[in-house]
Each structure stands twice: as structure tokens, then as C-alpha cells.
């Protein structure tokens, strides 16, 4: 849907926050919070301190229910009442109310928001906020998952790898977005001054030199330990499940070794278990169908 549909210009013009929002999109542990903190130091930018989750827990369900009951025998869903533009405008009203409560309607500060689930809702965000800037923060998935398997997130390496892959694909799924800016975490922390300057330009900010220095210092502090090698097992899993995505963002795949062999075995076992489970379910369905037919014929 969001490849071709977006809130029309006439509705965007009616938004009291038109042109102001900036949404950071990133898998957890990718450095989005660090960047949000840094950008919040700049005059003309207000960084929301608490994630809203308003797209991942709110707007996403509205879109799911927008066309409800396609298999229902009774007319259901908001699509029975309004068209896509009217629906998009109503969703925009809901989310604008949240952002306006955070920053007020006076002034023209860029409103910057990050919630960990929003990257997967890139299509929804792009549809509702065609006038916003979207900053995709990407980090080497091997490092992301290495941090994700710690007790803070408690992912398995496989879950983390799949999530990282799906998140990055969600950003490209809506097609080319003129308002999307991609930044690599590694560049943010190793070249903070250039990174801040580049973002100031694309986000049309006009901070003072002192503000820029403060933002640069925050990014530079993020380098400590951030570029250490990833854990071997998560790294191998990510390379096997998302190696093409790593390379698409300029990351070089490592040498195959023992970790890769173990990871291939693990993924092979998982695949076999899933395959077996699927076979069993198919047999169960056939038995159930046969029982129902026999009952109907009695």
C-alpha cells in the first residue's frame, strides 16, 4: 500500500506540525539514542526524551483494521466510511496530537523522535508524514546482534539476525523515499564532526558552533568500545542470514571458520525441526478434514 499511497499535499498543509517531525529509524543497539541525544543539543531541534511507540503500538493497528472484515459477512471497518486520504488524515491527527503535546504548536523546532519498533513501520510513517525527515541509523548487524544476545534484550542470535534483516528491509520496502537519510553508526562515532555537519544540512538546522561542538562530543563518546569485534557466534549467524544486507550497507563479510560451521549446523537443525513440524501439521489437517467429511456424510 505505502509504495504508492501517501497523505496528500492538501492534508499535509492542514497539519499544525507540517515539516517539523524527524523520525529516527533503527534496530535497538544501532546508536539511534546516541544520535537523538546529540541532535537534541542543536538549537532548532527538540528531542523527545521518551519513546512514544505511537506507530508500532497505535497506528499500525489502525492500518490493520482500516480494511477489516474482508472475509466478514457484515460491512465492517473504517474503509466502509471514508477513503484512504481521509483515513490517513485522521491518523495524522492522532499522531500530531501526541507530538504537539510534547513540543507545543508555537515555534518551528524540528521534533525528533525515536522508538525501537518504528523502523518496522517505515511504510506507515512515510505514508502519514511525507513531509517529515526520516533518518535511518544502520549499524553492522553482527555488532547489533552481539549486543542483543546480552540479558538487556535476551535475543537468540537467530532471532536477532532475522529482526535486524527485517528491520533494514522494512526501510527499503516502501520504495525510494526522497526524505530518507541513511547514516552508519560507525561513521557517526568515527567522523562525528562531518556527520553532524551533514545532518545539520539535510535537516535544515542552524545551530551555533557551541551546540555543534556539544553534539560532536556526544557522538565521539559513543566510540568507546563500540567498534570492538562482534561475538563470533552472533556474527556468523548474521552473516549467514543477512550477509547480503550487510554488504548492501558497505560492511565486509568475515572469513568463514569454526563459528560459521557451527552456525550452519544450528540453522540446519532449526530448518529440519521446522520442516518436520510442518509435515506433522499437514498430516493433522488432512486427518481433521477427513473426520469432518465423515461426520457431515453421516
Amino acid at each position: 500500500m505505502t509504495d504508492t499511497l501517501r497523505l496528500g499535499d492538501e492534508y499535509v498543509a492542514m497539519s499544525p506540525l507540517r515539516g517539523r517531525p524527524v523520525f529516527l529509524l533503527a534496530t535497538p543497539e544501532s546508536g539511534a539514542e546516541l544520535l537523538l541525544h546529540a541532535l537534541g543539543e542543536l538549537e532548532g531541534a527538540t528531542a523527545l526524551p521518551v519513546p512514544t511507540h505511537m506507530f508500532s503500538q497505535g497506528a499500525a493497528t489502525l492500518f490493520d483494521r482500516w480494511v477489516a472484515g474482508e472475509e466478514s459477512t457484515r460491512p465492517q471497518g473504517m474503509a466502509e466510511l471514508v477513503d484512504e486520504q481521509e483515513f490517513f488524515a485522521a491518523v495524522r491527527g492522532l499522531t500530531d496530537t501526541v507530538l504537539a503535546s510534547a513540543v507545543g504548536l508555537d515555534g518551528d523546532d524540528r521534533v525528533m523522535e525515536y522508538s525501537k519498533g518504528h523502523i518496522f513501520q517505515t511504510g506507515v510513517i512515510a505514508a502519514i508524514y511525507p513531509d517529515a525527515d526520516l533518518v535511518h541509523v544502520v549499524r553492522d548487524g553482527r555488532k547489533v546482534v552481539s549486543r542483543g544476545v546480552t540479558p538487556l534484550h535476551d535475543w537468540s542470535a537467530r532471532e536477532g539476525a532475522r529482526r535486524w534483516r527485517e528491520d533494514q528491509e522494512a526501510v527499503t520496502a516502501p520504495g525510494e523515499l526522497p526524505n530518507l537519510h541513511v547514516v552508519r553508526f560507525e561513521d557517526l562515532v568515527t567522523q562525528p564532526a562531518e556527520s553532524v555537519k551533514s545532518l545539520v544540512d539535510v535537516l535544515h538546522l542552524a545551530p551555533s558552533p557551541a551546540d555543534v561542538d556539544a553534539a560532536v562530543a556526544i557522538l565521539a563518546r559513543g566510540a568507546a568500545g563500540a567498534l570492538d569485534p562482534p561475538l563470533p557466534h552472533p556474527a556468523a549467524i548474521v552473516e549467514l542470514l543477512a550477509g547480503d544486507v550487510l554488504e548492501a550497507y558497505g560492511y565486509t563479510l568475515g572469513d568463514r571458520g569454526k563459528a560459521h560451521r557451527n552456525a550452519r549446523i544450528e540453522l540446519g537443525v532449526e530448518s529440519a525441526v521446522l520442516g518436520a513440524r510442518e509435515q506433522v501439521n499437514r498430516v493433522l489437517h488432512r486427518l481433521r478434514d477427513a473426520a469432518q467429511r465423515a461426520q457431515a456424510e453421516q
Binding site: 521518551v50 511507540h53 477489516a68 483515513f87 488524515a89 492522532l94 496530537t97
Partner: protein
């Protein structure tokens, strides 16, 4: 019965002019909306918007226990405003499309019986109409409908759950009224006029004539050979009636249905 209510939480186009019809499915909610639309100042549709079902995730977001989410910025009152902005946007667009001269909007989703606290916060000035029908008739109708449980006992449980939700939460709704399906069937014109007067709407001969024309029109009928009316539960088998009584007997008696 008071019709005083708090003001709308923001300058709403439907301040004091939004009505919500709900009840267990197969209780006559679609037919009531069909009758209410006889008034020229009321816009609406017999489609279920499911708008408050759709807002459930946002409502849960606003009540997160980890301190994150929209409540960090909205606060309790702000949640109602945000949801009101969304709903008003949907209702206004629908009104402008189908009934541009109307100033009221009536929404119907039976399942909204499970969303009354959220609706109370969003539309404190709203008019809430619960359609109550004999649970035995509801159970029979639901069991025969393509979307209901296949057995009258299971359907009766749905009815009990829905009615109890209303009993639990209706105190949150300053403008709440309950109308019995059986009374509506007996006098659809008179009962609907009573609702219009409760809502403060003027009723003239044009409205009466339109109501009289709409009243015999059957809607939401899944087995047209039977017609509409009360008491069709008597066609349930003895076993089915026992199953329904086992689940709903106490509530039926409480509501005065058990002896009919």
C-alpha cells in the same frame, strides 16, 4: 434521567452530537441505526466502524507500565483528546461524504461493549445507546449467523459477557440509555421518537413519516424466511434451551426474561 455531561475534551465538530449504538451482536443494533437515520440531522452508516477496536493498541500504549509511550506527553485527558481527534476525523469525513447537511453522527459497532472505558474518556459528551434483547433469542440468532458460535450455549455465553460489560461500565457514561429490542419491535416509531427526544432532537411530521416507512424494513437478515420479531427462541430444541439456560439463566431472570 439526566442529560448533563462533561464538555467535549477539545473543540469537536460533534460536541454533544455523537451517538453510539452497541450491544451483543444480533440484538437489533443495525435496525436501530436504520431507524435513527430517519432524522435529517443525523449522519451514520449501518457499517461497523470498529474504530474503538482499532484504537485498542493506542489505548494500551497510553497505559504502559514501563513509563514509555504516549502518556509521557498526553496525560489521561490528552489520550481522550488524541482519540477524539482521530474519531472525529473519521466521522466528519463520513458525514461530509454521505450526509453533508447533518450535524450529528451515529456510530454502531456491537463489539464496542468491550471498549466503554475508552469511549467514556473520548466522548464524555456522547450519547450511548445499549440495545438489550432476550438472550435466548440472541443465542438462537447468533448460532444461526455465519459469524457466531455454532452452538446456542456458546452464543448465550457471548450474550452474558456483552451484557455484563455494559452493566459493569455504563456508570462511566453520563448520557446512557438502554432500549429493549422487544419494545422497539412492538413500537418502532414511538421508541425511536423517544430516543430523539432524549437526545434533544426535534421531531416533526416529516421525521414521523420517514420512521413509519423505515420501520417495516428488515435489515441484517441471514435467514429471510423467518421474518423479524421476539420469542423465536421457542424454536430451539429442548436440549438447546437447557444449554442456554445453564449459561444465561441467572441473567435472564435478573433482566425479567425468564418467565416470558
Amino acid at each position: 434521567m439526566t442529560t448533563d455531561a462533561p464538555a467535549a475534551p477539545y473543540p469537536s465538530p460533534f460536541a454533544d452530537r455523537a451517538a453510539f449504538v452497541f450491544g451483543c451482536p444480533r440484538s437489533g443494533t443495525t435496525w436501530l441505526v436504520h431507524l435513527l437515520l430517519a432524522h435529517p440531522d443525523i449522519a451514520g452508516a449501518d457499517a461497523e466502524s470498529l474504530v474503538f477496536n482499532a484504537l485498542e493498541d493506542f489505548w494500551n500504549n497510553a497505559h504502559r507500565s514501563d513509563g514509555e509511550g504516549v502518556s509521557a506527553y498526553l496525560g489521561d485527558g490528552g489520550v481522550g483528546v488524541a482519540q477524539r481527534v482521530f474519531c472525529d476525523g473519521i466521522f466528519a469525513a463520513a458525514r461530509n461524504r454521505f450526509f453533508p447537511e447533518a450535524s450529528w453522527f451515529v456510530e454502531k459497532t456491537p463489539d464496542h461493549v468491550f471498549r466503554l472505558p475508552a469511549m467514556a474518556m473520548t466522548y464524555p459528551d456522547g450519547w450511548f445507546i445499549h440495545v438489550l434483547r432476550d438472550g435466548r433469542d440472541v443465542a438462537r440468532s447468533l448460532a444461526k449467523a455465519p459469524f457466531g458460535p455454532p452452538d446456542p450455549g456458546g452464543a448465550a455465553a457471548m450474550w452474558v459477557n456483552a451484557v455484563q460489560q455494559v452493566q459493569l461500565h455504563h456508570w462511566r457514561l453520563p448520557r446512557f440509555i438502554e432500549i429493549r429490542y422487544e419494545e422497539l419491535v412492538a413500537d418502532p416509531v414511538g421508541q425511536t421518537i423517544g430516543l430523539f427526544e432524549w437526545m434533544g432532537l426535534e421531531v416533526d411530521d416529516t421525521v414521523r413519516a420517514e420512521l413509519a416507512e423505515r420501520a417495516p424494513h428488515a435489515v441484517s437478515v441471514y435467514y429471510p424466511d423467518e421474518g423479524v420479531g421476539a420469542g423465536k427462541w421457542a424454536k430451539l430444541t429442548p436440549d438447546e434451551q437447557t444449554a442456554v439456560r445453564a449459561v444465561a439463566g441467572e441473567l435472564l431472570a435478573e433482566l425479567g426474561y425468564a418467565d416470558s
